[in-house]
Point group: C2
Chain length 129, copies 2
Amino acid sequence: MLYIDVMSRTPVYEQIIEQMEKLISAGILKEGEQLPSVRALSLELSVNPNTIQKAYGELDSKGIIGSVPGRGCYVMPGACDILKSIAKGKLPELQALAQTLMAAGVTREEIIRAIDECTHTVPVKEETK
Amino acid sequence: MLYIDVMSRTPVYEQIIEQMEKLISAGILKEGEQLPSVRALSLELSVNPNTIQKAYGELDSKGIIGSVPGRGCYVMPGACDILKSIAKGKLPELQALAQTLMAAGVTREEIIRAIDECTHTVPVKEETK
DNA sequence: GAAACTGTACTAAGACACATAGTACAGTTA
DNA sequence: TAACTGTACTATGTGTCTTAGTACAGTTTC
């Protein structure tokens, strides 16, 4: 379900956050659905329970998941809306990258073509098997 | 000439590298031109000379600048070409970001509009959120 | 030649984030 | 009661980044 790259410069807990958010945005983890427990996921990913807890804690503070002591963690209703507004907040990051590329001589068309290339093939919506 | 954000998560030496590369791409630092000395820049930016040396060392190993012991560091001829090819190598990074945004519900048009917005009006400056 | 610059190469130390390890406690469920 | 759940805490190890200090060799200028 999740894949951890221990060699990556991005911390493990952030990788977990990013992938959980993608699963929720994609509808693979539905609103109201229960997440794997801290201990179960730590075993599955071979990381420390504290690392999972840190990831879950941040998702909780964002309002994306809700934690119920004794019961478990659940995807909050409205999580997708929150994720979309967070995503819009990341547009400046994309703008900065685009600016860097164009300053180095990459053209607007090359950038847009690259975006179209990678987003055409993503099967987030039509999934009827 | 350069601005360091000590609160940033990106290391100081990387900030120096990025900004030097932008200055070279923009033609503000021309090929063949001499860079400020390690010690002078360390005083100007209030960082340790070792930090400057680390930045210069990486720029050197990329072939963007050349170091001559006793004389100084100079922008290498062909630096802009190298920078452009490095920039093209960063397209996957931009693709990944675009994919994340679109997976969260941001539309292709919103992304392209954001890119056009920032690249039309901003010359070479950097804008950190 | 001397002085003042240049880049370069070390070692040592501190700060900080990340991750692991272990323990403990309270709430929920079967 | 037993087995799960989240949560909190301390301690420890590790790696990167940064600073500090020293030293050496080459170049330039006077």
